[in-house]
Amino acid sequence: MAIAQETPGITAPRPEVALATMPEPRRRRVRPPQTLIARILLLIVAIGVALLLIYPFAWLLSASLKPRGEVFDNALIPKTFSPSNYVDVWQQLPLLAWITNSLGIALLAATAVAVSSSIVAFGFAYFRFPGRSILFGLVLATMMLPGAVTMIPIYLIWKQTGLIGTWVPLWGMNLFGSAFYIFLQRQFYLGLPRELFEAARVDGVSYWGMFWRIAMPLSIPSFIIVFIFEFQASWNNLQAALIYLNAGTPDQFTAPLGIAYAMTRYSPTNGGHGDYQYVMVAALVVTVPMLILFAFGQRYFIEGVATTGRKG
């Protein structure tokens, strides 16, 4: 989902990830079905949908294990197992470089945006200053701005700096905070008891100390949520890589750009030999970290919700 997906550098905030990982509310359910038959029918439909949605993953896994001629045969269990794909792919494609680049950019992007958004969010949450609500309204308004509008001038700004072709345009904007994350962190800080900070103030703690030594440690769970959201958005970002890295050599690409490149390279219409099994291996290798991240992020989100829940 993509309000800001198209903005190079700052990538899609995903509110639904937050909701996806929330623990089930304990309160009540919408009419649990009464009869056993209804219950079984629902389960069958749910399993059917799950199989349908999981099928492309199974197909991908299976295709990644097939030799060239069989990639398209749609057999879920390969007729000929070709696990050597997983060895050869590293020679065939600069996959390791792509992953390293994507990982480096995603770590920088996620760290930068999580720290900067936290600082800004604390400014909006704790301090009273003239124009605060107008400025915060402006923060929220920027969430609705289509990325396509600023895409071109932002490219030209980076061009002036001579940093095109480096990683900087893919994460540098994250140093200035991002609206959705500022909103998220501010919500968290507003939930912290104000007395905590007043007490620290009496003890002579500086404003920065209040943020760095009190607010930050308490907000680690929501900090990690921001980090994970942005990591995923950055890892998946194709458009920014296309704009800023496409002119370089293939080993400068990120994983999404690399896969797009590999699809073209192996395409028979471009003189390739249809070695799509390597594309499938690469697609799988790039997807697995996201699935692991999801499993990992879920735990932290539940912790985060528990922390905010405790104060009420």
Partner: protein, 318 residues
């Protein structure tokens, strides 16, 4: 905003007033310092970029010299002369009109299904969400194979039922439905928002309706739908904005190499902006296109908000 209790006590001496003013001032200064990163970013990458973009859209921008010559409305005029602008715009509208309702309906059906499950809903919620975690490139690469007209798994499945599937990715009539299908695979995010809304519908409403003899369909339209209209509103707006900027899947399937002779049916607006800017380097024209898109999205969002305000039921309202 809660009023700070520490400043609520009245000062007894003028010296304290001065101290309190100094405290206030210091707090304001600190507040501004904390939000400074955002202010700088906003001035450069949002406000600055928008103004810059507006200027470029009225200029002939030369990339080699980084200079622009003002040419008035020429870029905007050529928006109407270039038939590809109209094509890409109508493609995008057509896609949005198909994709948004399809996503809403499928997501709502899945959410209703999970909301009614007494056991295992959490597991299914995670399973349904997984496709959303998949990078769009990987999704496109897999569907590129699945949707192949001759050997793809989808047509193979259809043949099983005696249906001859179309040439999904080649036949211009099926290009957009193919991309809608890819989008539907990742509908888990929208579903989760609906699911959260469904959980908040008071169960008593259904009980009262049952006593009044309302059937399941009546209950859905009279209770469920109004009670989740807030989530519906949010989803429609967010999905519409996303649909108008559809890029990744179509780009990977059709436009990743310059030589590709792709069907006009796959030329979406965001792709055409990208091509004009970063392949033709006609930044002035592309910036004008971007502003047209901005105005269109703004108008559609405003209409949605206006309609939404009449239809959406907010629990806090009396």
């Amino acid at each position: 905003m809660a009023i700070d209790t520490s400043t609520a006590t009245r000062p007894s001496r003028p010296a304290q007033v001065g101290r309190r003013d100094r405290y206030r001032l210091r707090e304001s200064v600190a507040g501004y310092l904390f939000i400074t990163p955002w202010i700088i970013g906003f001035l450069i990458f949002t406000a600055g970029a928008m103004i810059y973009s507006l200027v470029i859209s009225f200029s002939d921008y030369n990339l080699a010299t980084n200079s622009s010559t003002p040419i008035g409305f020429a870029n905007y005029a050529s928006l109407f002369q270039d038939p590809k602008v109209a094509t890409s715009l109508s493609n995008t509208l057509f896609y949005a009109v198909m994709a948004v309702p399809a996503e809403i309906i499928v997501a709502l059906l899945l959410a209703l299904l999970l909301a009614r499950m007494s056991r295992g809903a959490g597991t299914f919620r995670i399973l349904y969400y997984l496709p959303k975690m998949t990078p769009a490139v990987a999704t496109a690469a897999v569907f590129f194979m699945l949707l192949n007209g001759n050997t793809g798994a989808i047509n193979q499945g259809l043949r099983f039922f005696g249906i001859q599937g179309p040439q999904w990715l080649i036949d211009p009539a099926w290009v957009k439905p193919s991309i809608v299908m890819m989008t539907l695979w990742t509908v888990g995010g929208t579903m989760v928002i609906f699911l959260a809304a469904l959980k908040n519908v008071p169960v008593e409403l259904y009980e009262v309706a049952s006593l009044d003899g309302a059937g399941p369909i009546r209950k859905f339209f009279s209770i469920t739908l109004p009670m989740i209209s807030g989530a519906m509103f949010f989803n429609v707006i967010v999905l519409s904005i996303a649909a108008f900027q559809v890029f990744d899947q179509a780009f990977i399937l059709y436009w990743r190499d310059q030589s590709n002779a792709s069907p006009d049916a796959a030329l979406f607006y965001a792709i055409y902006i990208f091509q004009e800017a970063f392949r033709q380097f006609d930044f002035g024209f592309a910036a004008a296109m971007a502003w047209l898109l901005f105005v269109i999205i703004l108008i559609i969002t405003l209409i949605q908000v206006k309609v939404g305000n009449r239809l959406v039921y907010y629990e806090g309202e009396r």
